[in-house]
């Protein structure tokens, strides 16, 4: 039997941009928000090589959580664990512990990984639009899910592009190739594509590393807006970006979680001297 996650709030037709932020009294949008992702004593290996050691942290719903640390510290590996992107790498596996999303162990063999990735979208370092039109980029995921209703697809395209703060810039050229867009626009298109399938969680792996400051500012603004509806986990090498965008920050070093706290604490008064040295640029 295949374990599937609970269905999304409504059908795809329900708007992304206008989807109401469900703030039930029991699920407040604040630092005490519930943990949507629970990472519990996780070890991770690439074959025999251990990449993560005993990682335990909870990621709160509708907050931005930043993973920081020097190259090779395991932050991207952990990010990719959250939607099992590492399954695509031979020999890569969670060797101990559990990652639970809404209480479901995502590495359980009964979990449908396609369903998982629908709920946990991803935006990569380098924008990777399909060599298709802007419109087709947005609708690709829905089409392969079998959605053919043109009106519904149109609606999702507009709402996704609005959600990614791109609609006004591209509304008159939706059927032109996405490859003709600027780098910043392409990255926001990838975000629009990710939110078109209505995920609950969006993983971002250095989403601004190839962007100029203006495009970076637009993506950061977008992250700030998106967290009203989505839980966002971002890997970044840009300390100021982590400070500006995130609510909580986790610092990793050599595969270990060194410190995890609210972002203000990490950048104002970290408890661990290694964190202090890293955020101050004294090592790494």
């Amino acid at each position: 039997m295949v374990t599937t996650f609970a269905p999304m709030t409504e059908s795809v037709a329900s708007s992304v941009a206008s989807r109401p932020v469900a703030v039930a009294p029991s699920t407040p949008v604040n630092p005490a928000a519930r943990a949507i992702i629970e990472i519990d004593d996780v070890d991770f290996n690439y074959g025999a090589a251990r990449a993560l050691y005993d990682i335990t942290l909870n990621i709160q719903e509708r907050q931005v959580t930043a993973f920081i640390g020097p190259s090779g510290c395991g932050k991207s590996t952990l990010l990719r664990c959250l939607n099992r992107m590492n399954d695509l790498i031979d020999g890569a596996h969670v060797s101990a512990g559990q990652i639970r999303i809404d209480g479901v162990n995502i590495n359980d063999p009964r979990v449908d990984v396609i369903e998982l990735r629908k709920r946990v979208g991803m935006v990569f370092q380098k924008s990777n639009p399909f060599p298709k039109s802007i419109y087709e980029n947005i609708t690709y995921g829905l089409r392969i899910q079998g959605q053919k209703n043109k009106a519904r697809l149109d609606e999702v395209v507009e709402r996704s592009l609005r959600g990614a703060a791109l609609w006004d810039e591209v509304k008159d050229r939706l059927h032109e190739s996405a490859l003709g867009m600027s780098g910043g626009q392409q990255q926001r298109l990838c975000i629009a594509r990710a939110i078109a399938v209505e995920p609950e969680i969006i993983l971002m792996d250095e989403p601004c590393s190839a962007l100029d400051p203006i495009a970076t500012a637009k993506v950061e603004e977008l992250i700030h807006e998106l967290k009203k509806q989505f839980t966002i986990v971002i890997v970044t090498h840009n300390m100021q970006q982590a400070a500006r965008c995130s609510d909580r920050t986790a610092f990793f070093y050599l595969g270990k979680l060194i410190e995890y706290a609210d972002t203000r604490t990490i950048f104002m008064n970290p408890a661990n001297p290694q964190t202090e040295a890293y955020v101050s640029g004294r090592f790494g």
């Binding site: 909870n58 604490t265 104002m268 008064n269 202090e276 955020v279 640029g281």
Partner: protein, 233 residues
């Protein structure tokens, strides 16, 4: 790992200490001018105030430059912020010292009024507090900073006692009112200098622990709470 701009931070710290030394010297010399009725010395103190003002401007400039170009975070950011605030307090100490020197100058040409009472003691305590607070800038020793804060009521009490004594004296001998008022202002200046030392000490707790204890009773507690308590991972 050493960074190419680490020297800027050390220079900033040493300029605060330099300013602190100047402010303490000014207070010490102003009190000497008062007690020895030395007009030339009082004039020297008044003229030197400008140097402290310039140091404040220089320290602010260095702080803004560092924040703009070096993006400080964590303890470095706290150092820069605290440094700017401490320099403002030190500038005010310099102003108080100048005020004392001005009054010392006036009193020096009047018949002596042997009512200095505890002024030398107040000055000694205020200067010790300032010295200890500035030491914390180097040592980042919050316990020492707390001991400075706890001494402030001592100076407050001396100021109040002198105020009462001078008030009685003025009632008894109205011809001394003008001179006694000058002494009251000097006493108040010393009390203010102790207040500035207290402010600096409070800032030093923030520098050392990241804990803001201003306008609270935390400074009176034996053990400081843990700042910015980290939520459980």
């Amino acid at each position: 790992m050493k960074r190419f701009f680490d020297a800027e931070l050390e220079a900033f710290r040493s300029h605060i200490l330099q300013m602190g030394e100047r402010a303490m010297d000014q207070t010490r010399l102003a009190m000497k001018a008062l007690l020895e009725a030395d007009i030339a010395l009082a004039d020297k103190v008044i003229a030197a105030d400008d140097e402290i003002d310039k140091l404040e401007v220089q320290i602010d400039d260095e702080a803004i430059r560092y924040m703009t170009l070096r993006g400080p975070v964590a303890s470095e950011l706290r150092l820069i912020v605290v440094g700017m605030k401490a320099s403002h307090d030190l500038e005010r100490v310099g102003d108080e010292a100048t005020g004392i020197a001005r009054r010392a100058r006036k009193l020096a040409i009047e018949p002596p009024l042997e009512l200095y009472g505890d002024l030398p003691r107040m000055s000694k305590i205020a200067l010790e507090m300032l010295r200890d607070a500035l030491d914390c800038f180097v040592q980042e020793d919050e316990q020492k900073a707390l001991s400075v804060i706890r001494r402030d009521p001592e100076v407050d009490n001396l100021n109040r006692a002198l105020y009462r004594r001078l008030t009685s004296y003025m009632i008894e001998k109205p011809d001394t009112i003008a001179r006694a008022l000058e002494l009251m202002f000097i006493s108040k200046s010393l009390e203010r200098i102790a207040d500035h030392a207290t402010n600096i000490a409070e800032e030093m707790v923030f520098l050392s622990k990241g804990l803001d204890i201003r306008h609270s009773d935390i400074g009176k507690q034996a053990v400081l709470p843990t700042p910015g308590s980290n939520p459980p991972v």
